[in-house]
Point group: C2
Chain length 322, copies 2
């Protein structure tokens, strides 16, 4: 059975061309681009809380890094480096090999060097810290929205939680939607290119990890504003799902409160929104205007139905200790 150091060497030490010194010393050494700001994010993923213990380790490896890159994307920063710390209940080299394969595939896809880490024994737990660079003063924060800014979301929020509902047996998705939703859940694509293209355009941004309304609520709260979302402007879930197979209440729940989408929700001053069509085309990624920021109670998000009536919807995202 391989020891800790041999395991680390075999699976987690890869070339780190963008680092001065990679894994194997007390610290990694990196040379930040002079003058740039560093965006730093850390996420802890726990078996049973964030993923099923029997999740395909290939997908888990991808997702563990992807959710951190999503945070970097939400700031508009360019991903550079990451560290990985993991507790494992036992040595299962096949599992570790698959996990590393998915993890490094995501790192390669987004140009991130894994510069360091820590491996230990314990209940399955993965903690990743990621670093990106952004021009000083340009980062997309949550607190920059202004009243009358338009609210946008990328992609199709709700797919990941529909995929989860399918895995949980709450709904039976027909193909190809099952595959589409399950891919959204298991192998999310952080919107890194979008985040960087929104610099100078978006006034605020967040990634949709806790649910669309909850995350929009964070922008609203930090910006001291309320938000109005028009249900009819939300991207439909794929045709053939909502109308035939998916109960309406579940679809709405997934769209408005489903976590794990890792799309970007952002606000844009009127007129600047004219640039978004070109960005959507360039990135081949739909961008939907779903509402508007308004003066009102800070953090309050109201959803309006097609008749302009406020919908009573109180599922406000996932809270680990709520």
């Amino acid at each position: 059975m391989a020891g800790e150091f041999a395991l680390i060497d075999r699976y987690f030490v890869r070339p780190t061309p963008s680092a001065v010194l990679g894994p194997g010393d007390d610290c990694a050494l990196v040379q930040p681009t002079p003058g740039m700001q560093l965006a730093v994010t850390t996420d802890m993923l726990v078996a049973g809380t964030h993923f099923f213990p029997d999740t395909n380790p290939l997908n888990l490896g991808w997702k563990a890094l992807a959710v951190n890159l999503s945070d970097l994307a939400a700031m508009g920063s360019k991903p550079r480096w990451a560290t990985l710390a993991g507790a494992l209940p036992a040595v299962n080299e096949e599992w570790i090999g698959k996990f590393a394969e998915g993890f490094f595939a995501c790192a390669a896809e987004y140009g991130v060097d894994i510069v360091g880490g820590d491996t230990t024994r314990g209940p399955l737990n993965l903690c990743i810290t990621a670093f990106g660079e952004v021009d000083p003063g340009r980062a997309l924060r949550r607190d920059g929205a202004k009243a009358s800014d338009l609210i946008y979301v990328s992609g199709r929020p709700g797919l990941a939680s529909l995929g989860l509902a399918h895995l949980q047996g709450k709904v039976l998705l027909p193909e190809p939607w099952r595959r589409l939703c399950q891919t959204a859940l298991e192998k999310p694509r952080p919107r890194v290119a979008l985040g960087q293209r929104l610099l100078g355009i978006a006034s605020a941004a967040i990634d949709v990890s806790d649910g669309l309304l909850a995350d929009l609520g964070h922008i609203a709260k930090r910006s001291g504003l309320a938000a109005a979302v028009k249900l009819v402007q939300l991207p439909h879930l794929p045709k053939g799902t909502t109308h035939e197979a998916i109960p309406r209440a579940l679809a709405l729940d997934c769209q408005l409160a489903g976590g794990d989408d890792y799309e970007l929700c952002f606000t844009v001053p009127p007129l600047l929104n004219l640039q978004l069509a070109a960005i959507a085309t360039e990135l081949e990624l739909p961008l939907w205007c779903i509402g508007q920021m308004t003066a009102g109670e800070a953090g309050e998000v109201t959803v309006f139905d097609p008749d302009g009536l406020a919908i009573d919807f109180d599922h406000r995202g996932y809270d680990h200790f709520g």
Copy 2:
């Protein structure tokens, strides 16, 4: 019962004067000093593996950060920022409050701003990532030792593991040594000032976390050298312990293979060692010359007794999956 966000706000959001943007957004933003290199380290601490589940949370908070600052110290870097991710089995506000108190006491002592984090539910697990700055090309690495460089260690390696032996009932330490050893175990002081003073003097350095011989072995291996340690030159454990209360074999085991000391082990070219006495005086920290690097099999560490005979000692540090 407080929710996740309220908990984070109450205990873990403190002023971060050295950051552009602290906790509460998708990422923290920091402005690295232009031209400086960034040293990055991450450590995961698991209940039952790294600490007793009933450890005083005040000490645990201190130590969780201190072990990371020790890695920064071993590179000679100046600590700047850290992130904290934690999984907790349940909300125990008293525990969390005490943990935060110890954690932020260590942060304040060493001038570190806690710029971000993540809180979730799960088996008790703490993951900290810390960042320090160091002049390009000057960081103390493990691979810089040369044959004939002298080997040094700070403080008194072995105190922490003697303290652990006491807690485990393997030995009964008399006062004041019990207190001294238990403090070394529970509230280690990372050698941050020493690390920075060794820039330009030490050729290689490591912090003693896995045990003196094991960690010296890492320097030897990465430098392509062997190391010779003279037992008689090791700092004695406090008088009254080794001779009266502590079995000789246990004392030796603690000194040579005890983990958790967080002293620095480093190599210094002959002649440059003349500067160490002044540094020891300035920092009020004993620095012991315990041997010399030699040509030989890379990574081999040999301990010699007072008669110049090699001692058979095969306990080579802690390996979580060995």
